[in-house]
Structure formats: structure tokens, C-alpha cells
């Protein structure tokens, strides 16, 4: 978000306090709703369930499985997206040839491909592939756009100092595209979480997505809400930190 002028200290304090106030208001609202609807557990109860879950070894197996799948999907997705984006940004014919398809594929609900992935990658691999499919596109599109908009002077500089390919990548390209790259990475984190968890909703042996759907089936709502809360809070925190970094880089 382009902010016209840097915020004053007072404004920044105001923003911080205001954001905290919003969080409090949401928790308060949740408390009120939980009093009205018996299916919604109270915030305190949910946090207590979450705390006891996090010391339960069985739960941790699921949590580790999901975290590992998300991390793998994120690493593969961003590397693949970065690489393809780099090629698309540098080689115009390739970009022209594939751009319409990439744009169109980005608007597709990729989760419907899950039944196709299952027989190929099995239960463990399919959710990682789905996570990769989810988080690939923002990185790819942002890197391609970023590389395209690198000023000519930068390339001339690289040539005049006779930088090797790797040096050009590390010292010229990456610093030049750091902002769009960070935006892509921020979107990729939460998309990787969503891709993996949605896949786990569908079919898997272990994972937090399975926990959510199983507790839903059993009507164990505090457990379900606690797991959803964990997933949301973790992906929220990571993208918030990346967003702050992104703003600093500007």
C-alpha cells in the first residue's frame, strides 16, 4: 500500500493502539456470540483447549505434519515460482507465449485438481503439490513483473563490471526486485497454508486439516475452533511480519 507520507510517531502509535483495540473488539464480540450460540466456544475455553492440545503428543504429530507440508510447499513453490518468473521476465518470447495461460490458470480454483493429484502423488505428496500450486503464482507473477521493470542502467552496470550470472542475480536482480518479491512471498505463505489445509480437509492421514474436519464430525467444537484459531493466528502472524518488512524495504 503506497502511503503518501511517512507516518509521524504519534500516528504510528495511534495505528498500533487502534489495531490492538480492533483485536480486543473482535474477542469481545466472540465472547458475546459464544454466549448466544452454544456451538461457539468462549474465547477463554478455546485458548485453554489450544494450550492443552499443544502439549498432547498426538496433536503435535498432526501439527508437525501440516507444518512440514506447508514449509516444503512454500520452499518448492517460491523456488519454482521465482525461477519461472525470472525466465518470464528476462525472455520476452517465452513471456508472450505463456502469459495468457498463466493469468488464466491463476484464476482457477486449483483445489478441484486434487482428485487428479491423489493417484499420482499419494496422500502425503498430493497436499504438498497442492500447496505448491497455490503459492507458486503470486511469486511467479511478481518476480516476472519486477524483473521486467528493472531499469536498463542496472543491466548496463552488470555488463560494465563484467558480473557473472550468479553475481548479477545476487547483487543486481534480487535487490532490484526485493519489494515485489517480498509481496509475492507474503501472499505465498498464507496460500501454502490454505492449499495444504484444504487438501487435508479432503483426504489425508495426519494433519491439522484432518483434525478440524474430524472434530467437526464429532461435534467437538472447542477443539475445532482451537485448531482453526491456531492455523489462522500462525499464518496471520507470519504475513504480518513479512508485511512490516516489506514496508521497511520500500
Amino acid at each position: 500500500m503506497p502511503v503518501a507520507r511517512p507516518l509521524t510517531l504519534k500516528q504510528r502509535h495511534g495505528q498500533f493502539l487502534g489495531s490492538i483495540a480492533v483485536a480486543f473488539a473482535v474477542v469481545l464480540l466472540w465472547q458475546i456470540v459464544s454466549g448466544l450460540l452454544f456451538v461457539v466456544p468462549a474465547p477463554a475455553r478455546t485458548v485453554a483447549v489450544l494450550a492443552s492440545n499443544l502439549t498432547d503428543p498426538d496433536y503435535l504429530v498432526d501439527a508437525r505434519e501440516t507444518a512440514l507440508a506447508v514449509a516444503t510447499a512454500f520452499v518448492i513453490g517460491t523456488l519454482l515460482g521465482g525461477l519461472v518468473g525470472l525466465v518470464l521476465g528476462l525472455v520476452k518470447p517465452v513471456r508472450l507465449a505463456t502469459e495468457p495461460l498463466i493469468v488464466a490458470l491463476n484464476g482457477v480454483p486449483k483445489i478441484v485438481l486434487y482428485p487428479i493429484l491423489l493417484p499420482i502423488f499419494q496422500l502425503g505428496g498430493s497436499k504438498i503439490v497442492m500447496g505448491v500450486l497455490f503459492c507458486l503464482f503470486p511469486v511467479l507473477i511478481n518476480v516476472a513483473a519486477g524483473v521486467r521493470h528493472i531499469p536498463d542502467v542496472y543491466w548496463k552496470l552488470a555488463r560494465s563490471v563484467q558480473a557473472s550470472w550468479l553475481q548479477t542475480l545476487v547483487h543486481i536482480i534480487l535487490p532490484a526486485i526485493r519489494r515485489p518479491l517480498l509481496t509475492g512471498l507474503r501472499l505465498a505463505v498464507s496460500l501454502a497454508v490454505v492449499g495444504v489445509v484444504l487438501s487435508e480437509f479432503f483426504a489425508t492421514r495426519y494433519g491439522l486439516g484432518r483434525v478440524v474436519l474430524q472434530t467437526y464430525g464429532h461435534g467437538d467444537y472447542p477443539e475445532m475452533v482451537a485448531t482453526i484459531l491456531l492455523l489462522i493466528v500462525v499464518s496471520f502472524t507470519i504475513s504480518m511480519l513479512l508485511w512490516r518488512w516489506e514496508k521497511k524495504v520500500q
Binding site: M1, P2, V3, A4, L7, Q11, G14, Q15, G18, S19, A21, V22, L37, V39, V40, P93, L96, A97, T98, P100, L101, V103, A104, N106, G107, V108, P109, K110, I111, V112, L113, Y114, P115, I116, P119, I120, F134, R186, L187, S190, V193, V194, V197, L198, F201, F202, V212, L213, Y216, Y221, M224, V225, I228, L231, I232, S235, F236, S239, M240, W243
Partner: protein
Amino acid sequence: MRTAAMAHQSKEPVTVPETTPTGTAAAAPAMSPRRRRRLGDATFSGIATTILVALLAVLCEIGPRAGWWGEEVLPSTSSIVASAADLLGQPQFWGDAARTSLEIGLSIVFGSVLGLLLGLVFWKLPTVGRIFEPYLVSFYAVPMVLFYPLAIVVVGINASSVVILATIMATIPVALNTTVGLNGIRPVYLKLARSLQCSPRQLLTSIALPAAAPFIVAGLRLGVVYALIGSIAMEFVTAQAGLGYRIRYLYEIFDNQTMFAYIFVVLVVSMILTALLVAVEKLLVKGRTQ
């Protein structure tokens, strides 16, 4: 060059239409080389995309026939297209399509209205905008899907739980983009409005919204895409009808043939929709800047 020069020199009216360059020569100055190159790029893109799609179709046709992969992994292109065509004659398909379209349509309408209103509020009250900004940016649409199990517990397994979450997903990009667009209006426009003594409504409809239009249109496009992706993803998790739900159901009853047809239709329709939206956006933004 020579023919054109000669045409100019000759006074006979008959020769003018006969010298071929004249017709195009008159149009050429209006069409700058850059524009012509862009047209060339677009043609190249179109042809290359057609070839890529055709290659993919051929590959998927040959694959199962040559035994590279089994029919149950991915049937041949022709059989998928045939069963997709079959699907178009089935009332159940149209029922599912109607349900999904209703959900997406409602989410788009609610999301756009809500997003525009929020964008206006965040623009008029910058403090409020700054307070909500971290939440909007971090919740950037998609993780909303994770709330779906909670939504069906509270609202029930029906269209409204999908519509509620898909509306939120569509609202966020519209609100963010509207805010960015409005905050980016050049101050001189607002000064102009003040010196012309525009009413608040005139300021909004004649100055602010048109000036922010490229951002707003981009936000609306994202809103449509997120409503579509979100609705189908949530149906896929669980529902009682809809295209996403049907794919899951068909998977569970091992009706692969119909399932692939449904997946094919969903992919094709959403790809066409996305491409159309991009084209419309380009047209709108281009029309504005020229």
C-alpha cells in the same frame, strides 16, 4: 516510397486509389510503430497460446492411449470433452451450476458494494484506514476459507455460509484497492473540485471515483476471482450442491468419468472468465488514459 510520391504528384484522381500504399499510408501515422508492435505481440501471444493448448490436448489424448498413464489417472482429451458435452444435457449439472453461480454472483455483488463503501470510509477517515490496514493486508482473502467449518456450524450447510465467507473474500481486495486508488488521487484534482465548488456527491462521482478507477477495476477483478475460487473451494470441503461439491461427491463414489468432466468444465469456465476480466480491465483502463 516512390509510388506514394508519384501518387501525390499525379493529378489524375483515378491513380490515387490504384496506388496501394495510399489507403494504408493514411492510416499508418495514427498507428504508431509501438502500437503496431503491441498488436504484433498480442497476435504472437494468441497464436502461441493456441499452440500450447493444442499441444496439451494432443499430449493428453496420446498419453492414456499409448499407456503412459492409466485412464483412471487422466482420461484422454476426447473422452473428457465428450463426457463434458454429455454433462451439458443433464439437469443435475445445471442445478449445480445454478447453485454455484448464485453463490458467486451474490458474493460478487455484496463484496463489491461492501468493498467500495469500506474503501471510501478508509479514504475519508485515514486513521480508521491505517488501523484496519494490517488486518486487511494479512487476511488477504484466501485464509478465510479456513473459517468454513466454523461457518457451517453456526449458519448451517447451505448457500449462505458459502456466500458469507466468499463475500468477505471478495470485499478485501476491493476495499484495499479502492483505498489505494483514492489515496493516490493527485491533489490538483481535489483542488480543482474545491475551486469549482463541487458538492460532495459531485466530488465523488465526477472526480474521485474516475481518478481511482484503474485501481478500483483491478480490485473488482480480484474480487470476482476470489469469490469464484472461494465458493468452489468451500463447496469442495463440504456442501449439499454446487460444482465443487459434485466433484468431491463423484470422487467418493468412484465415478471418474463424470468427475473429470466436471473438473474440465470448472477449469474451462473459470479460465475463460479470468481471461475476459483481464481483457475488460485492459479496455477500461486504456480507454481512460487515451
